[in-house]
Amino acid sequence: MYHLYLVTSVGGRAGFGIATDYRERNKQYASHSGDIVKFSYIYGGLRTHAKAIERTIKTQFSDNIWIVDDWKTEWLKDGVTMQDLKAYVDQLLNERSFYRLKVIAEDYDFKQGLIDPN
């Protein structure tokens, strides 16, 4: 199983990414930020579908990427909330029902270990 996660930074900024091992990825966020970082939502499913959705988000949110001194980060700019991002992903999954991806965890951090996807 592969994963698409929606992450909220310590400061409240929304971001997203993909990972095979979401627990390890969450640890890396904690290590870099010096604090527990929450994956607000983790979607699990087919690797290709998770990657396709991540790419679609990148394209559709291209105007909403947080840019610092000409550097494009992997976070969304001020004013674009986690609710906006979650609503967009859910809309995609509803409209494109062939995507085999579903929410397997909410408000997750690595201390919770691995989640049973069922």
């Binding site: 087919l46 690797r47 290709t48 579908h49 990657k51 396709a52 394209t59 494109r96 029902s97 062939f98």
Partner: protein, 376 residues
């Protein structure tokens, strides 16, 4: 084994590109230079550059500004160490082509003027050679001696040949912003659509290709354009132009029918180029059922063609290394072969061109396990 997948409809939404397609018509407006200066003054890169000029105490040296004058062609020399060999066919078939030649489109010679009064050409030797040749051939009424014929020269005064060498390099590519493939395509389209000039068969063909794509809501746009977020857009112009009108019509028709909610991935053109050509050679119809089942398979296994491309590229990398023992470069022919081979693996029964089955032997076995596991 029956075919595993059914295509799932996605609700069609109005495509904003229908209204904002830049090729639909020209902007129909002219701006003055102030508009461009204003744009520069708002640009971060421009601000950085002007700051750098100040920091370096650099100023615009007016004494280096080029001069322009009308000079006799006989005054011009061509340094063969600076300019390329004359391409006689270029002069004959492109510049002097009687169907398109127009003196109004000639560019001035760019050259240096030495302290001895010699002009040495940096750019436009083909233009001036053509003009001199036409005079020599008696094709310029009232002019008999090309050496006396006055032509616009743009030059700076210097004896430094290294300047000329650098300038030639800049004028012929290095440092010059070249026309992009999209800009060239746009020019061809506007020559037909705005200027109503159908004299150049290349322009006519390009406009027909674009019209065929547009009829299926597919739209060429500039590389890195913000329009690429809209469905049906694509920026790989050179591959697009390599297909026939029928191939573009079929490819874009398939995209619009099944993936109207996605951008056009370049693999679409490679896939349909090969499907059309190989099925055509084998006299096998590219059936509607086959095309729908291919779309269903792409949806269910990959989501879209962009992800199919990523998966097939990785499978090809593994396949090549396993088959030949070293890393090989990607081959665009693998798109259609992999697609048709996957189709049969997942129970597809429609007749396919055999030439797409016996290449890249066992390639599909190198797709990820989570993909191939769905066949069980």
């Amino acid at each position: 084994m029956t075919f595993k997948f059914n295509y799932e409809e996605v609700v069609r939404k109005p495509n904003p590109m229908v209204e904002i397609n830049p090729l639909k018509r020209g902007k129909g407006r002219t701006v003055n230079l102030q508009d461009r200066v204003d744009k520069l003054n708002k640009n971060a890169a421009w601000k950085k550059t002007t700051k750098l000029w100040t920091a370096m105490n650099k100023t615009f040296d007016l004494t280096r500004f080029p001069q322009v004058s009308m000079e006799p062609l006989g005054a011009l020399d061509i340094d063969e160490d600076i300019q390329r060999e004359l391409d006689e066919k270029h002069c004959a078939n492109r510049i002097a082509n009687p169907a398109v030649f127009d003196p109004a489109l000639l560019q001035p010679v760019i050259c240096i003027k030495t302290s001895k009064g010699k002009f040495i050409s940096i750019d436009a030797q083909h233009t001036v050679s053509t003009v001199a040749g036409l005079i020599d051939a008696g094709l310029v009424p009232g002019v008999t001696d090309w050496k006396e014929f006055k032509f616009p020269f743009m030059y700076i005064e210097t004896n430094n040949l290294s300047y000329a060498r650098k300038a030639f390099s800049i004028l012929n590519g290095k440092g010059k912003k070249k026309q992009s493939q999209y800009q060239q395509l746009r020019n061809s389209v506007f020559v037909i659509r705005i200027d109503k000039d159908r004299s150049d068969e290349d322009d006519v063909k390009v406009e027909k290709l674009v019209a065929a794509a547009e009829s299926h809501l597919c739209f060429p746009v500039e590389e890195d354009s913000t329009l690429l977020k809209h469905p049906g857009t694509f920026s790989n112009i050179s591959t697009f132009k390599s297909l026939s009108i029928n191939e573009i019509d079929t490819a874009c028709g398939w995209h619009d029918k099944y993936f109207h909610y996605e951008g056009v991935h370049v693999s679409l053109f490679f896939i349909y180029r090969d499907l059309c050509r190989e099925f055509g050679s084998a006299k096998i119809p590219l059936s509607g059922k086959l095309q729908e089942e291919l779309a269903a398979m792409i949806q269910k296994l990959f989501g879209n063609l962009s992800q199919f491309q990523e998966s097939v590229t990785e499978a090809h990398r593994r396949w090549h290394e396993k088959s030949y023992g070293y890393k090989g470069s990607w081959n665009d022919d693998a798109y259609a072969c992999a697609l048709v081979q996957l189709y049969q693996k997942f129970g597809g029964k429609e007749k396919v061109a055999p030439t797409l089955l016996d290449r890249f032997d066992n390639l599909i076995e190198f797709f990820d396990e989570d993909i191939m596991g769905l066949a069980d």
